[in-house]
Amino acid sequence: MTLAWREVRRARLRFGLLAGAVGLLIFLVLFVQGLTDDLVTQFVGAVRNQDAPVLVYGADARRNLEGSQITPAQAAAVARVPGVAESGPLGEGTFTMRAGGALVDAVLIGVDAGGPGLPATLVAGRLPEADGEAVASDRDRGDGFDVGDVVRVEPGGAPIRIVGRARDINYSVSPTLFTTFPTYEAARRIRNPDARAVNPSAIAVRPEAGVDPAALAARIDDEVEGVEALTRQQAADEAPGVSAVQQSFTVVNLLFYIAIPLVTGLFFIIVTLQKAGALTLLRAIGAPASVLVRALLVQVGGVLAAGAALAVVLLVAADALLGATGASVGVDLSARTVVVTLVIVVVLSLLTALAAVRRILAIDPIRATTGAGVSA
């Protein structure tokens, strides 16, 4: 222990640089992960955090609400499938709205009041109970979508009053409102006054108690022509764009993940080789190899701990900076993600440090008598 720290103290710059590099890499891993999660949440938060366990899309929609339509006949057929406790329409569309005095493109999602498909993550106010009421995303509260605010679909739509806020219910990275189906229908008619009937984009389904959502989705697929039923999880993960985003970020992250243990492992091999003379001497005067290995592992642990601390500081700073600049993305990290990432990094780094451990175990103390340990 003392041996390990004394060495670090004598080579502060060297160990400091390593800890800095490790910290930066851990930060990048977590930052990219946080950005990905945040982006994905903004893409499909509305799907993930609505309360219907099963969503039924039009078969041609390729899992995209935007291009999906359900006919009244299909809706009725879904409702009749055994195991369906409750089903209701879910309409989705992007509209130009006036909110807080500005015009913004926002997503309106209409479902039955009290029916399936409403947000499950309410943080303030209440859910819409009457037409003209809506729940907004907590993220957009500062942009004219707070409880008590009134927004309108342009041009000339009726006022929609925000009665509640829910966490992470955005769709397509836009401000998002959950409202009643008739309110949604009215918005559609503003854009397209001649439409005869407004079909829902999907059907939100709640299974009967004890019915597995995945099994029910499969049954709906079997029994209803021209639809694709998905569990909530599938609908979120397999939404177009989401898997592509996740895949490309995963590749980037994998590279960082590999870089950390490589950098640490290489560093400690070099350091161990450089002080081979001293290690040989210590073995010769009776230091058990385990004492020297422990000193090495203490140093590895110390560097990783310092790196992790630095990474957390950088993350907090980056998040604050993104918030201050009003960037549309943020860092969305759960404590679990951070812990899992750190555990992976520590385990991989300890694995690569084994190369240095092997070097220590291979030291032959006899070389202290010749000084050969110095160059070996």
Partner: protein
């Protein structure tokens, strides 16, 4: 009284590629509890080999090695590590100090790698040794900031730190000028004699043998009380 070191018919053969090098042949030697023996011989005669075997760093090819009456010939590597840590004080020919530890820490490390003493006791002993060796003012210096003689003195302190039964010193003066070399030898004698410890001091400089109680000659791996015939060993006590 058992001998501090007892070599009985020790033989060491190095295998070098096809051939063999007999580094020690039938070496028999006893060193008393507080005796200082000088081992004098030309380069390559087997001096370091003998010290390594006596100190549990190297296994003999044949023969028995007893330190303080205990036979270490068949000991396991782990037992030998412990033996070196507890019974032997080494001053090596080349590397002796850990470069990233100060003079004082180079003494303290002896206890930190598993020695008997605890923190305050260990520090007190290190400070007393440094004082005796005239290094108190250098205690906080790294080896790179010390002169050759100072480094050698720190190494002696390090070798005495664990209160060894046997001190093994390999060429303590070869890198030093005569005056510094004399000082170092004087110090070794004072420190070792003051503690009643046995010591074997290897040298190829006949002038250094006067600090020993007894001088043994070694040539081509053969020990003898008198210098072997030949140009190198013949001028003892000139």
């Amino acid at each position: 009284m058992s001998a501090a070191l007892d070599l009985e018919d020790v033989r060491k053969v190095y295998r070098a590629g096809e051939g063999e090098v007999v580094a020690l042949s039938h070496a028999t030697l006893q060193v008393g509890e507080d005796e200082i023996v000088a081992l004098l011989g030309p380069s390559g005669s087997g001096k370091t080999t003998l010290l390594s075997i006596a100190g549990g760093l190297l296994a003999a090819t044949a023969g028995r090695v007893l330190v303080g009456g205990r036979d270490i010939s068949g000991a396991t590597p782990g037992e030998l590590t412990r033996f070196r840590r507890e019974q032997v004080g080494f001053v090596f020919q080349a590397v002796n100090l850990v470069p990233f530890l100060t003079a004082r820490e180079n003494l303290l490390v002896v206890d930190e790698i598993g020695g008997r003493r605890k923190g305050p006791e260990s520090r007190a002993r290190a400070d007393r040794l440094l004082e005796e060796l005239g290094l108190a003012h250098r205690a906080g210096n790294l080896p790179g900031q010390l002169s050759g003689g100072e480094r050698q003195r720190v190494a002696i302190g390090r070798a005495l730190m664990n209160e060894p039964r046997l001190v093994l010193v390999d060429e303590p003066t070869s890198a030093l000028d005569t005056r510094t070399g004399t000082q170092v030898m004087e110090l070794i004698r004072t420190e070792v004699k003051g503690r009643g410890t046995a010591a074997v001091i290897v040298t190829h400089d006949t002038r250094m043998t006067r600090w020993a109680d007894r001088t043994l000659h070694i040539d081509d791996g053969v020990l003898s009380a008198v210098p072997a015939a030949g140009p190198e060993g013949g001028d003892a006590e000139a």
